[in-house]
Amino acid sequence: MLDNAQMQDLALLVRLDVIEMIRAAGSGHPGGSFSSVEILVELYWNVMNIRPEEPRWEGRDRFILSKGHACPALYSVLARRGYFDPTELMTLRKLGSRLQGHPNMHDLPGLDASTGSLGQGLSIACGIAHGIRLDDRKSRVFCLLGDGELQEGSIWEAAMTASHYNLKHLTAIVDRNRVQLDGPVSEVMEIEPLVDKWLAFGWDVIVAEGHSIPSLEKAFEHCGEAPFPSVIIADTVKGKGVSFMENTCLWHGRCPDEDEYAAAVREIREGLS
């Protein structure tokens, strides 16, 4: 297990990968990738029971990236965790690449589902959780949702199902960065009060600081204690780590130019210990 300082460095390295990948691709989604970084790093290094050398191992914990556009961050985490060679990261979005613009599980080892159309991941995660229970296996299921994504009605269908069937081995994480493609979530279509909504749907709700490894660690430790599914509402910052990308919808899906790229890399590198 890595200590807190190592985990923070890892998060910065993932951010560097993401900016390099998006620059090489000429397009991609930096904002929602950056807000998810610590959540993904915590999951893949400290929480999930996985075997990168055996990606389809039946006993593994499952992870569904419902907000599929954050895949640059996931790809970086998978590569750094040993699922594939990190040099492949620079093929993101290119013809013939296994790193598709949104995740394709048949191409790349380590992906438990293909996603990209918002609102579908939580239902898939529920189905996986049902399957694991039917087989009397012990794996846990994690699903990362965007906060804008919660505007999809299908998310709430799945939320009902998970609590109705007491899928306690399922954990959803909401990347609450409060910004979506068109602007602030509260202006586009308010989704708050989220804690009350998930509680009303019968979930165990934990609020965490989404860029704090200790806070996320505590939140994940708590999951599974209740006899119903858990949701971690992780307060994050869209574009976290590059000041001019933070808290703005302008960097939801935009590639930096050369000056912006240089400034972003400089700022991220300054944080490395």
Partner: protein, 311 residues
């Protein structure tokens, strides 16, 4: 062939048999299990039966998740809702991942009669046919529906099975197997080939009998496998007759007619006509009345066949 039975009964027999023979078979329902009959699966296999309430989108996502864990989910509800409301889930979560999900579209075509236009699935085959990896079976009677359910177990990737509500004549004894990609030649003919699926198959046989009296030799193909289409059978018969009438309980756009026309346009262009819904919604009425109003009848098939031969 005169005993009547709703094709949905074959669906229930099929999933029960599949469930007994294969412990990986599970059923996902959307609050219509008493209507389409799958509730009996839940009574026999309560652990493998999930009623998710009125939530078609969630049903398909759940099915994808269960299939990812090696189960074979049968997801059933009315065709109009499952193919329409959950289309994006079927596209991305099922077809893109090429998962072994079986989708049962009940109440296909105007068979649901009195419920009216909102409940008559007339676009479902078109919606499913455009999806890569999807296979489509439209059985003609209850026995064939059971066989279609069992055939779907052998398939790789998703299968859509469409069946109806009102009783139709039994054409098959129950011994015949359904093979994905294969149709059945039910009548040999030399003058015109009638290609039909689902409820229109028995009407096409009736039409062939009427045509015979009029001195016209009409062949009948039951194209139970709408996708992939039985190209070989179709082209082989059309080579002989040189004229085709397609009959389907579905919009003219996108369904069996288009599948047949697309194939023949490239491989054997011949005169072709259609008996189907012509770009309109259905209406309330008994199934027979609705068929009459919209021209989905044996006499309409006869009329089109005579017309095409006199061109």
């Amino acid at each position: 062939m005169n005993n009547l039975k709703a094709t949905r009964e074959g669906y229930v027999e099929g999933i029960l048999q599949a469930g007994r023979e294969n412990s990986r078979v599970v059923v996902i329902e959307g609050d219509v299990s008493r209507s389409i009959g799958s509730a009996s699966f839940g009574e026999e296999f309560p652990d493998r039966f999930f009623n998710l309430g009125v939530s078609e989108q969630d049903m398909l996502g759940e099915a994808a998740g269960l299939a990812l864990e090696g189960f074979i989910p049968f997801v059933g509800t009315y065709g109009v809702f499952i193919a329409g409301r959950a289309w994006d889930q079927i596209r991305t979560s099922v077809c893109y991942m090429n998962l072994d999900v079986r989708i049962a579209g009940a109440h296909g075509g105007v068979s649901v009669g009195p419920d009216g236009a909102t409940h008559q699935a007339l676009e479902d085959v078109a919606l499913m046919r455009v999806l890569p990896n999807m296979k489509i079976l439209v059985p003609a009677d209850s026995n064939q529906t059971r066989a279609a359910v069992l055939a779907s177990l052998e398939a790789d990737g998703p299968v859509y099975i469409r069946f109806g509500r009102n009783p139709v004549p039994q054409l098959y004894t129950g011994d015949e197997k359904v093979k994905i990609g294969r149709g059945n030649l039910l009548r040999e003919g030399n003058d015109v080939t009638l290609v039909a699926c689902g409820a229109m198959v028995s009407l096409s046989i009736e039409a062939a009998s009427i045509l015979k009296v009029k001195g016209i030799s009409a062949g009948v193909i039951d194209m139970v496998s709408v996708k992939p289409l039985d190209r070989e059978l179709l082209v082989g018969q059309v080579e002989k007759t040189g004229a085709v009438i397609v009959a389907e309980d579905h919009q003219a756009a996108g369904g069996l007619f288009c599948a047949v026309a697309e194939t023949l346009a490239l491989e054997m262009p011949v005169p072709i006509d259609i008996v189907a819904m012509q770009d309109s919604f259905g209406a309330s009425g008994s199934p027979a009345e609705v068929r009459e109003i919209f021209g989905l009848t044996a006499s309409a098939i006869v009329e089109k066949a005579e017309k095409i031969l006199h061109q």
